[in-house]
């Protein structure tokens, strides 16, 4: 029965922090596509790109999490997720592996976390050597309100 509680995550790395996104939500992994900037867009929106004929909105996850910019943008990777039928490309530092984790082991988000981290975190797994923060895509993309406050 433990299989029912098994959730597979794609692990991603942002500023040396390990994050996980449920594997079924990941549509694509990209590297080095040219971005078109969108003036006047929220700071978290890095631009738009063409993914096989679809226009994908790129989200700068570092900005979203209040982290400094990655020094050289070339090195970054992107993970394409879909939200309400719209594709979004999450710009991250690196993609790791796929981990199968038991939902029973998911710990609640520590209340002391930074607000914008708390918003997007769906809980924390204690891996042997690291902590893995589960990213909630829906919350991650809902930055209209938070960006206003920041501004």
């Amino acid at each position: 029965m433990s299989d029912n509680n098994l959730q597979e995550y794609v692990t991603i790395l942002i500023a040396d922090q390990l994050f996980g996104i449920p594997v079924l939500e990941v549509h694509d992994v990209l590297r080095g596509l040219s971005l078109t900037k969108i003036p006047l867009a929220p700071a978290e929106v890095a631009g738009a790109l063409n993914l096989r004929g679809r226009i994908v909105t790129a989200i700068n996850v570092r900005k979203r999490l209040g982290l400094p910019e990655l020094e050289s943008e070339e090195k970054g990777m992107s993970i394409v997720v879909e939200h309400h039928g719209e594709p979004y490309s999450l710009m991250i530092d690196n993609v790791g592996e796929v981990l199968g984790l038991n939902l029973d082991d998911l710990q609640p988000t520590p209340v002391t976390l930074n607000t914008c981290w708390k918003e997007v975190s769906g809980g924390v797994y204690r891996l042997e050597d690291k902590l893995l923060v589960v990213l909630q895509i829906e919350r991650l993309l809902d930055f209209a309100g938070s960006s206003n406050i920041a501004a």
Binding site: T36, P39, L40, P42, G53, R54, I55, H84, Y88, A144
Partner: protein, 909 residues
């Protein structure tokens, strides 16, 4: 064949196919309630539509069938093979009748009383109906196998077409043909079962082919395809086009490549595929009109009017999406025409018109647009009523209305909250009127115009783009980023420079760039400012020093607001497919969408409306966006451009823009004193500076804005505090001023504004200008000489009036000879008349003859003022009685002629 009927045939044939299949399923599993519900609903629909179309035989059969099905649904009747058989029989009869209708467009003669009686027997149990010999199918069939059965049954019922056509194999031609005939999306939603399962739909429509096996069968010429599927196909084709383009680019470099020929073929096919798919989106406008005859019929009963609705060009095609959006506005306008436009029969006959009023709908293609005209031969718009209403609602003042043309007054009906219907009727007059129509049409990039003649009728002309999906867009670059501007709103492109080396120079009014474009002053916006890309721009400028050397201006028209967008570069135009932007960016009104260009990159599409809204703030500075209309239509006949500025105090002051030669900012340090007056070295000359009154403060250091007036070789500068704006408005001087330097006060953009007397300023600077004894007005001792100035050009009147006033005359104006003669009839008299020669209605020669031919003004000297100054003109002028003849722009000789003429006539008295 009638569109409605053919739609009905297609739909009913499909529905019957489904009913057939479902009945078989139901027979096998009578407990399946969803099936019976579905069948009942479909048969009910068939019955309902028959009734609507007036097909009584079909209706009767369907009705009887429905009765039986109703009983089954209400569990009053058990499903048995007999019951199913008789319903199927009813369906077969319906099919036969449909087939006949398809051929003859009418129901066949005949009687189904027998069948109906049997159906009723089953329904109401008069015979030994509901035999219970058929056992219900055993309960323990599990869900899985039931669906399998169903599927199989469905396939059997579909009577397998010989050539099994899978959706993928439907040829483009078929698809095309299908979609030309296909119904609008509302019909699609009306039959969700069909659209949700394309595969079934395709099969179902195929089955009638088998049945009738006739050529030209209408019901199999169209299939229904989910719109979503078409959209997906569209995306795929776009992708194909991109790939094709990439391949072509790769091959272009190499000559005589083995790929060249097949690539060309691929390219051709792709283009055709793309065009074909585009066509599937097109629908005849008749679809949007189909409901109108009924509406008009009902209206004519309700209103007691006789109305004849004529429709031309119903086959004109346009994009489905556009069609949807104009449906309601069109309906609304036809209602309006019927309600407000047409009179009741007795009124019509009284005015000598035919009793039956006519509403004509016209549609045709013109360029990339479709033009729809709605014409009625009714009473037309009553300008007086509109005026009254305008005054009541405070949309304009009486004075403003006075100066408006009939056309402008009529256009008030497009303003929000405006309805001329005196009573609120069921039909119209609820205050949601033409403004909603207008905004709806403008939303899809269309325009609406109105012409109306009182007593004769009105015509509304709507111009809308053919499709929203594909637009031609101009690609521009700003700060290294590319953007697309929809071509439909681009009026022209202008190359300009920031220095004065070229013809087109960008000038600044208080940091707002403007451009003189022919006879207009065009407000400009920097795209980088609007998009807040200036940091990047500054970097570029620093690097290359090119900023300002040469710039491109895209002249945009939004409604009646014309403005220019300054961009760095202009590329080509491209046909683009507009895709909506991501929901999280929806609040960016500046973009109307985005798209993928031929080279595969994403590009944002600028929304001219959004830019206009934003630039309104940027240009005007105080939220008067709506009113900064350049109003191309009126071409300044009624309105004149005024330059609004502040000088001494907060009250705005204005001067006709046409009198201003340039706007400059001068370094305060450069102001020198000469002969006790302020002067500045300007373009190699000394330019005297003056101030309107002494309250104007010159800043201690930095730059001071100056209005430059020039006349031949003389220039002067008027020092002001701040240049506020350029507005087009009516110049109605409501209060004359006794203060020096002001002509009076007028309402300019809802604010009381002092109109500056340029003549006074000129005089102040060049005291001698009008000071010569020769040009002094005769009899200048206290009593002013009265001049009548007759000229049709408001510009000219505006220019001359202050000058003449400055010279000490009392000036009245008339627009043309007719108006002037009216003044004579009112008993006014003048000392001298200055008249233009070229005028509408009555030219100067005629006018002079009229004046000379009547006792009252016979002795008043007339001076002709014209740009035609040949000897022949002079001679003709003198023949008809002009005392003198002056070239139009020769101010000094005008002054001396006036003075001399007056002296002569004065001494003659």
């Amino acid at each position: 064949m009638d569109d409605l009927l053919s739609e009905f045939l297609t739909e009913t044939n499909e529905n019957i196919g489904i009913v057939d299949a479902s009945l078989v399923v139901l027979e096998q599993d009578p407990s399946d309630e969803s099936q019976i519900d579905n069948i009942f609903r479909l048969v009910h629909t068939i019955k309902g539509t028959c009734g609507f179309l007036g097909l009584p035989r079909l209706e009767a059969v369907a009705h009887a069938g429905e009765n039986v099905l109703g009983k089954i649904r209400d569990k009053e009747l058990t499903v048995t093979a007999d019951v199913v058989t008789i319903i199927l029989e009813a369906m077969d009869v319906i099919k036969d009748i449909l087939a006949t209708i398809e051929e003859t467009e009418g129901e066949p003669a005949g009687n189904d009383a027998d069948l109906i009686a049997r159906l009723n027997d089953v329904a109401f149990g008069t015979a030994d109906a509901a035999p219970s010999k058929v056992e219900p199918i055993s309960e323990n069939i599990d869900a899985g196998s039931a669906t399998e059965d169903e599927l199989e049954a469905a396939f059997l019922a579909a009577e397998g077409p010989d050539e099994e056509v899978r959706p993928g194999e439907v040829s483009l031609e078929e698809l095309e043909a299908a979609f030309l005939a296909a119904e609008g999306p509302d019909d699609v939603s009306a039959a969700p079962v069909v659209t949700n399962e394309e595969a079934t739909a395709v099969e179902e429509t195929k089955s009638p082919t088998e049945r009738t096996a006739k050529e030209s069968s209408i019901s199999n010429q169209s299939i229904r395809v989910n719109v979503q599927m078409l959209e997906n196909l569209m995306t795929m084709v776009s992708e194909l086009v991109l790939t094709r383009n990439q391949l072509l680019q790769m091959v272009r470099g190499m000559d005589d490549n083995e790929f060249t020929v097949p690539l060309q073929r691929l390219s051709h096919v792709t283009t055709e595929l793309q065009e074909g798919l585009m066509k599937t989106r097109m629908q005849p406008i008749g679809n949007a009109w189909s409901k109108l005859p009924r509406i008009v019929r009902d209206l004519s009963h309700e209103l007691g009017k006789k109305i004849d609705l004529v429709m031309h060009g119903a086959e004109t095609e346009l994009d489905r999406q556009v069609l949807e959006m104009i449906k309601d506005p069109l309906t609304h306008m036809v209602r309006n025409s019927a309600d407000h436009g047409l009179e009741i029969p007795t009124d019509r006959t009284a005015t000598g018109k035919l009793e039956t009023g006519k509403i004509v709908l016209d549609a045709y293609h013109e360029g990339g647009h479709i033009i729809i005209k709605i014409t009625d031969d009714g009473r037309g718009l009553n300008s007086e009523k509109i005026k009254k209403k305008v005054l009541e609602s405070g949309l304009a003042s009486e004075a403003e209305l006075e100066g408006m043309s009939t056309q402008q007054i009529q256009n008030f009906i497009m303003r929000p909250g405006f309805s001329t219907a005196e009573k609120i009727t069921n039909v119209s007059g609820r205050g949601v009127g033409m403004d909603v129509v207008r905004s709806n049409i403008e939303k899809i990039g269309g325009t609406i115009a109105l012409t109306s003649e009182e007593g004769k009728g009105s015509t509304f002309t709507i111009k809308i783009p053919l499709t929203l999906a594909i637009v031609s867009a101009l690609i521009v670059e700003c700060c290294g980023e590319r953007f697309a501007v929809p071509q439909t709103s681009v009026v022209e492109l202008v190359r300009a420079s920031a220095d004065s080396s070229s013809d087109n120079t960008i000038e600044m009014i208080n940091d707002s760039p403007v451009l003189r474009l022919r006879d207009h002053l065009l407000p400009l916006v920097h795209l980088n400012d609007i998009l807040r890309l200036e940091t990047a721009a500054d970097e570029v400028a620093d690097q290359s020093e090119v900023k300002g050397a040469e710039e491109f201006i895209v002249v945009i028209q939004v409604g009646s607001f014309v403005f220019g967008i300054i961009v760095d570069r202009v590329f080509d135009t491209e046909e683009i497919v507009v895709k909506p932007i991501a929901p999280i960016l929806k609040n960016l009104s500046i973009f109307s969408g985005n798209t993928i260009l031929g080279d595969g990159s994403v590009i944002m599409i600028l929304d001219p409306n959004g830019i206009a809204a934003m630039s309104g703030d940027a240009v005007v500075g105080s939220g008067h966006t709506e009113k900064v209309e350049t109003n191309q239509g009126a071409k300044g006949d009624e309105k004149i451009a005024l330059l609004v500025f502040r000088a001494g105090g907060q009250d705005p002051k204005a001067v006709p823009l046409s009198l201003v030669a340039r706007l400059e900012e001068i370094e305060v340090a450069a102001i020198e004193k000469a002969n006790g007056k302020m002067v500045v070295q300007y373009r190699g000359q000394l330019m005297p500076l003056t101030m309107i009154d002494d309250d104007v403060k010159i800043v201690e250091s930095g730059r001071q804005p100056v209005l430059v007036f020039s006349d031949q070789d003389r220039t002067m500068g008027l020092i002001v505090d701040e240049i506020v704006d350029i507005v087009e408005d009516h110049l109605n001087i409501e209060m004359t001023s006794d203060k020096d330097g002001y002509i009076g006060s007028a309402v300019v953009r809802d604010k009381a504004t002092d109109i500056v007397d340029v003549g006074f300023c000129l005089q102040k600077c060049f005291g001698k200008w009008f000071g010569d004894t020769d040009t002094r007005p005769f009899g200048a001792d206290g009593q002013k000489q009265k001049i009548l100035l007759v000229d049709d050009s408001p510009f000219f009147r505006n220019m001359l009036v202050p000058l003449l006033k400055t010279a000490g005359y009392e000036v009245s104006t008339a627009e043309n000879g007719v108006d002037a003669l009216k003044m004579r009839d009112h008993g006014k008299s003048f000392d001298i008349i200055i008249s233009d020669i070229e005028m509408p209605e009555m030219d100067g020669f005629q006018f002079a003859e009229e004046v000379m031919g009547d006792e009252r003004w016979k002795d008043t000297p007339i001076v002709a003022l014209s740009s035609h100054t040949t000897q022949r003109d002079f001679d003709r002028g003198r023949d008809v009685g002009f005392s003198d003849y002056v070239a139009k722009f020769d101010r000094d000789s005008l002054m001396s002629v006036l003075s001399q003429t007056l002296r002569i006539s004065g001494s003659a008295k």
